[in-house]
Amino acid sequence: MASPTSHPSVPRNPGMPLNLSWFDRIAVNTPAAQNRAAQLTTRRSLKKEWQAAWLVNAIRCIDLTTLAGDDTEARVARLCAKAKRPLADHILDGLGLDHVQTGAVCVYPTMVRAAVRALDGTGIPVASVATGFPAGLMPMNLRLAEILYAVEEGAAEIDIVITRAHVLEGNWQALYDEIAAMREACGDAHLKAILATGELGSLRNVYKASMVAMQAGADFIKTSTGKEGVNATLPVSLTMVRALREYGARTGYKIGFKPAGGLKTAKDALAWQILMREEMGTEWLQPHLFRIGASSLLGDIERQLEHHVTGRYASSSRHALA
């Protein structure tokens, strides 16, 4: 299955040999990053039709996700139904749109088959977490086997987790080798490298891990599993986006970005899109280069869009459950 993360005009990042000189002396000033992150949303504002359009765009970029211990095939089918039809018909009509669907559905490997079945014919890709998600502390052969399994089951995108220890120990070669091997195991499936930034200790480490992941061939870099104490934040995202911009400037390859965990409100969805537009440009507002990993976010967006359409504040009890 062709993945929408691939795009005719965007050749896939082939990776490159590890090159420490691109990042080993990188300076990331945390207060300055926080200051910039805080200003992003005070310098830009979206109102009325524009706000509605940007919220719809956020839906197009959502990897609608369930990653819970109690997931069942029926639960996954329900999620897929929401992914196919994320907005109630009257909202869609009110917005003057024919069709909207999420960027992907993201599940555990054993749920991939159920998701693929539920999404048959929609073009919505199934993303699978793999490599011992969320901690990743499993033997390498098992992690690679998990990728092969998920691909075999029909996953078009694989969200891998990195070994945080490699970052904390500054073992960039090990990190590179690990991700490169995973990329190879993915084959045609696209690789999103989850850096688990909440556990990396500093923005400098976030930048370095981002650069190593891209050099190892990641198609996307992703902030978090959603299971760390701190997940996607704007300063972390800013740092990663600057890294992928730099990688693009040096290699010509466009890398996607996926914030995950912690984006819960429509306001968050706007903030991250403003970040992408300001730091990168409008191309990075499209699902082949931008995804939002989220579960509850869609509900809030749907409520805001209903308010936009009806002028009345909405109740989630009137919207289909994901």
Binding site: R25, A27, V28, N29, T30, P31, A32, A33, Q34, N35, R36, Q39, T42, R43, R44, S45, L46, K47, K48, E49, W50, A52, A53, W54, V56, N57, L95, G96, L97, G201, S202, L203, R242, R277, E278, T282, L285
Partner: protein
Amino acid sequence: MPTVKEILETMDYGPAPESASEVTAWLQARGRFGHFIDGSFTEAGETFVSENPATGEALAQITQGTTKDIEVAVKAARKAAPKWAGLSGHERAKYLYAIARHLQKRARFLAVLETLDNGKPIRESRDIDIPLAIRHFYHHAGWAELVAEEFPNHAPHGVCGQIIPWNFPLLMLAWKVAPALAAGNTVVLKPAEFTSLTALAFAEICAEIGLPNGVVNIVTGDGATGAALVDAEVDKIAFTGSTEVGRIIRRATAGTGKALTLELGGKSPFIVFPDADLDAAVEGVVDAIWFNQGQVCCAGSRILVSEAVAQEFTARLTARLGKLRVGDPLDKCTDMGAIVHPTQLARIRDLVAQGEAAGATLIQPETQLPAKGSFFAPGLLTGAEPANPASVEEIFGPVATLTTFRTPSEAVQLANTTRYGLSASIWSENVTLAMDIAAQVKAGVVWINCTNQFDAAAGFGGMRESGFGREGGREGMLAYLKVPEPKRKPETKATDFTARPSPETPSAAAIDRTPKLYIGGKQTRPDSGQSYTIAVKGRELGLAPLGSRKDIRNAVEAAHKASGWGKQTGHNRAQVLYYIAENLAVRAEEFAARLKEAGHDPKEAEATVRRAFHYAAWADKFDGAVKSTQSAKITVAMNEPWGVMGIACPDAAPLLGFASLVLPAIAMGNRVVAVPAQSMPLLATDLYQVFDTSDLPSGVVNIVSGPRDELAKTLAQHDDVAAMWYCGSAEGRAMVEAESAGNLKASWVMENRDWAAAQGREFLSRATQIKTIWVPYGE
């Protein structure tokens, strides 16, 4: 309006206008504005139009204040002053608190009004100007409460005349009015003629909270109104504006006894080292020069970037430039609004054209500027060498120059090669380097890895021709308080500087002594080759060298060479001062005898030993402070020496007067060119032998004897002398203040006084200037 479907194609931001309806309704209801005097608005007089610079449309009719208006306002302030000063601090605090509260309740109204009147983006007035103004009143409500406790033996000046600029209208009003009121002064404030409206709204708030009549008076008008205020019967002038006007005000107030603080122009360096977070530094430039359309006195307008990263940095900065949105200031997506007035726009265009003509390249994004209104696209002048006029003149617009440097010391050299000294921004992840540069730049405010940070608790103000005095914090309060006048003592009679032999006053000395000038640690003959007779009651005590302009020049050069003195530890300077005391004590009897012979109090010798001990004690104790500003930002106020000071000593108390002025100056790390008591310089010339034996480094104290006012004039006019103290006649005091206008050196003039008690903190704070350093931290 495009459909959602269409917007999904473009992903544009769309308009996000802030509503101006409340404000326009207020402006229409108010009609023509008079002044706010003695608690109510006067009838409008002859008026001029205040325009919205973004559209060119008229906003309001404002009254042009006359000399008579100023007189009436000053009279009202004078009448209100005793009662206001007599209120308890707590009572004044309640009024300031109420002002802060009411500003907060009217925040949105004021933000919109400010943006309409000034052209700045609503984001800035909403997120920066108005919140900082509110914070200033809260902070100073606190100072009002504490003033008696924290500033014992201080009193308000009385009536303060305050003149503010158009770039931050309400914020500058807050910076002026809040400390003045907290300290117990009453004020007459003149807003800038382009931007009077928030001041007039503020007047309504003063009325709204029931501020006693006459405590705050606002007279609108142009520069002529400001000049009338400077000339009026006020006790202090506080001015923020151009260096050019600051100089005029310095001359106009010279000799009047009016206290003066000036916050003037700047051409502040923005220094990027190769180990900086370059993306952060790029955003820093956005906040530095593309903030408030670059109309910021402390704007980082001279970007100095290491050659190692210059290309990369310029590329990123150019890319960032293209993302700035210029347009409707009321739109919440606007980064840059309108230039305040067409005249300012013309000035910016002119200076940028001059910069290009001198060889710089202008980089500007392809921006569609609005068809009407005063707009200028943000820009960057690369290849602007230090000699380029665009690198020298304050453009006061959204254009920075960019120059490269090779080494940190070259960066400092470039940074300090300017007549200004307001602020500096330093970008490096190496804290050792950043602090080293912070210590070396000549700037009143230094921002490390940040820029344009302000807080009511932190001092703000400049060095050199950026002015003197600080606003904010404890140092800002001191600018609105005075210490009681010391007991005055009459000046001694005039001295005869005749250089010809005077057989009518025969010498009494056994072996002839030859006092000389003391310059750079050497005893030197005066350039004139002449001496004058020092005589007491018809008897010659000796001949003193007759110093002149060239000796002053040489002495200042020698003082500059002794720059190591300011870098020594306080402890080391204390050691030298103690040693001076020790050696003086050994010769105390000789000095006492000399004083007696000269007709002065012999007890001066013993008192001078004590004074040396006093300032030795202080040398390592006049500490700076860490300010309570914002979270995760260390804000340090450091007391720095001026550098080279001129000191004209009283004619009375030839030993103690000299020591009382010179010792605190050198204790703080200054180097001094001193003119000793003109009628009796021999005590000072004897003293240099003590200096020589006390390990005082050469050039720290230089002594040029001769006609005081003539030598003081040369010192006051000297552009390489940073501060000037003068004790002497009324004409001399006026002369020193007026001549100090040349390089806007801080001057302290005083009448002769009882020198026995002349010591302590006041001398030390006069011997230093505060540098505020901001260091954000966080991993």
